[in-house]
């Protein structure tokens, strides 16, 4: 099946929106989609989702003869596969142009940056060494496959444990996991790919979606580790734009985000590995948890690809208030007339309904915040002005403010 061509109206609209610094999914220009990592039952197996882009990675190992050029090093192979499950226009079982490109970018990011200690994978020099293989399958394509694949590959490598080996004269014994505890890989630094997209008008966005990728004119992928070191760089353009134009505007953001991302990956790997060491039953971050048992509640947000920037935030606020209400419910239970109230709230919860309280509370919030601002002003001026202003009284702040202003003027 061929890829559907980009229509004029999609192209015009995305360009127009980027001109106005808005994106269809309500993100800021330099904002990435949320990352979720879930681990499978084996070592070195994970699913990573970047918004609606999803990739699954599995690390496996076997013993092979090392390369003649590097007799005391193990090997690392990276293999990215794009199949029709990701998008119907990918062909099965054939190395296509994009898959080679992603493969190469990941190799440069993970292999050429020497982030994995391959020497420790050697068992007998020139004879036997571990051969690591990272298989990455893209299972849903919504743009920015490189970032998603790189996160998946890194998380899988960090999570992977190889069986222990003991060698005694000419003979090597590979211990099963039951005999000896498996060993993790040694990783010197943690590089991740961060992608940017440049549009006709020169605006740059981070973490492009599929539609944006089709419209953009130049794509920049940086492999950065958590120490803000550049490990790889890939610049792919349709029209003449130079890397020098793009990099200064985004390099800082890229480095910061990479550090953030790596700490997220580290944290989730650490939690899962620790749970496995302790043989605990972990009920989060596993494959079974990545399938959300969605309830068809009102205003369900995650599945909406096009939204206003304030859409999700409004939901958060609502959730918060709903939680508050839950607490209230518990308190009210003690009262006598609680039955009716509870029923009403039960209807509202999940079903939405006309939320009269939302309006009030939001405006209240604003008022409160503005009050706080006034308070700060007050305290600041208080330092300069000798007069004592009663801070404890919340009411009539405006008057006090006026007073202080007068004081400054005089």
């Amino acid at each position: 099946m061929r890829e559907v061509i980009l229509s004029h109206c999609e192209k015009n609209f995305v360009n127009k929106a980027i001109d106005k610094e808005t994106r269809l999914d309500g993100r800021q220009l330099l904002e990435a989609r949320p990352v979720n990592i879930h681990f499978g039952s084996n070592w070195g197996c994970c699913i990573v989702s970047l918004g609606r882009t999803k990739a699954i990675a599995q690390v496996s190992c076997d013993i092979q003869k090392p390369k003649a050029s590097r007799p005391n090093e193990g090997m690392l192979h990276i293999n990215v596969e794009l199949n029709p499950m990701a998008a119907p226009f990918f062909e099965a079982g054939r190395q296509s142009d994009p898959s080679v490109q992603i493969n190469r970018q990941l190799e440069r990011c993970l292999k050429d940056s020497k982030c994995i200690d391959l020497e420790s994978l050697c068992i007998v020099a020139d004879k036997k060494a571990w051969n690591l293989r990272v298989d990455i399958n893209i299972i849903n394509h919504d743009g920015n496959l490189v970032d998603c694949a790189s996160i998946a590959a890194l998380a899988a490598l960090m999570h992977f444990h190889r069986p222990d080996v003991s060698s005694s004269e000419e003979e090597i014994i590979i211990h099963s996991f039951a005999e000896k505890d498996p060993l993790p890989l040694t990783i010197y630094h943690h590089p991740v790919c961060i992608s940017f997209l440049v549009f006709e008008n020169g605006n740059t966005i981070m973490d492009p979606t599929y539609l944006e990728e089709k419209v953009g004119v130049a794509q920049l992928t940086m492999g950065i580790n958590s120490y803000r070191e550049l490990c790889s760089l890939d610049f792919n353009y349709l029209t003449r734009t130079s890397v020098a134009d793009v990099i200064p505007t985004i390099s800082n953001q890229a480095a910061n985000y990479a550090a953030e991302l790596v700490s997220l990956i580290k944290e989730s790997v650490r939690q899962d590995v620790e749970a496995r060491y302790k043989k605990e039953v972990k009920n989060f971050g596993r494959f079974e948890n990545c399938i959300a048992t969605d309830k068809l509640t009102a205003m369900f947000t995650d599945k909406i690809p096009i939204k206003l920037s304030s859409w999700g935030k409004m939901d958060d606020r609502e959730d918060e208030i709903m939680e508050d209400q839950k607490e209230n419910e518990q308190i009210i239970k003690i009262n006598k007339n609680s039955a009716e109230l509870l029923l009403l709230k039960g209807d509202l919860f999940g079903n939405g309904g006309v939320n009269t309280w939302q309006n009030d509370s939001s405006s209240d919030d604003e008022e409160e915040s503005s009050d706080e601002v006034v308070m700060v002003e007050e305290t600041k001026t208080k330092c300069h002005v000798l007069d004592d202003i009663e801070l404890s009284e919340d009411s009539e702040e405006e008057e006090t403010q006026n007073m202080t202003k007068d004081d400054i003027q005089t």
Binding site: I5, G352, N355
Partner: protein, 236 residues
């Protein structure tokens, strides 16, 4: 397993109600149902519903379009081949659209259609053995609401259940949205929706409202529209 009206049916389930039906009036099997000898089986997963009189169908969630005669679709022109335009309508095969199938078109006066344009057209031929054929005129030669859509709008896709939901005359969404914003809209039965509003923000807002409608009950459409309107005001 045997299922009755209102139950969730899985492919292969035997429909109990119909197979034991024993009257003379005709039973009409809608989408997702087929007869296998003496029994009626479901061929899709969804909720078994009964329409007027003895019409049965399965209300399923689907994103893959199968062309049906007489349906309005939104397509993208992908190619010009001689006298016809090839139009992608998200089906397994591209549809053909003759250049004569536009209002006022003649051999001299060809319609101005470019590759990459979006058209709103009606399916004239849709059979499983032939290429689907589109027209942009009705039987009187008038274009009505069909034709090439302006390139200022926005195109997005959604599920068929959402399309059926918002096109249902009982759905108040479009009327309520129209109170706050002015917009042009073309909804194709192939799950493509084209919108044009006054500004980028408004267009995104309308798209957001339509997509959110999938998870909103009819009685809550009002609050959804109010929310969208409020958010638009905040952004201004």
């Amino acid at each position: 397993m045997e299922v009755t009206v209102g139950d969730v049916a899985m492919p292969g389930d035997i429909i109990k109600d119909i197979s034991t039906h024993n009257t003379k009036d005709k039973i009409i099997l809608g989408p997702g149902l087929r007869r296998d000898g003496e029994v009626i089986v479901a061929s899709k997963a969804g909720v078994l519903r009964k329409g007027q009189s003895a019409t049965y169908y399965i209300d399923s969630y689907q994103k893959r379009y199968i062309p049906n005669r007489g349906e309005n679709v939104v397509g993208i022109v992908t190619q010009k081949v001689g006298d016809i335009f090839k139009v992608d309508i998200a089906a397994s095969e591209q549809a053909g659209l003759s250049y004569m199938a536009f209002e006022g078109a003649s051999k001299r006066n060809r319609p101005d259609v470019q590759v990459g344009d979006v058209v709103f057209a009606k399916l004239l031929v849709a059979s499983k053995d032939m290429e689907p054929e589109l027209v942009c005129v009705d039987s009187l030669g008038k274009k009505g609401k069909l034709g090439v859509l302006s390139s200022d709008g926005m195109l997005f896709t959604c599920s068929f259940s959402l399309v059926r939901k918002i096109l249902n005359p009982e759905c108040p969404l479009f009327k309520m949205l129209g109170k706050e914003q002015a917009y042009d809209l073309a909804v194709g039965m192939n799950g493509r929706v084209w919108i044009k509003a006054r500004s980028v923000h408004e267009t995104i807002a309308v798209a957001n409202a339509i997509l959110a409608a999938e998870y909103t009950a009819l009685s809550e459409m009002n609050s959804l529209c109010n929310r969208i309107a409020k958010m638009l005001l905040q952004q201004r």
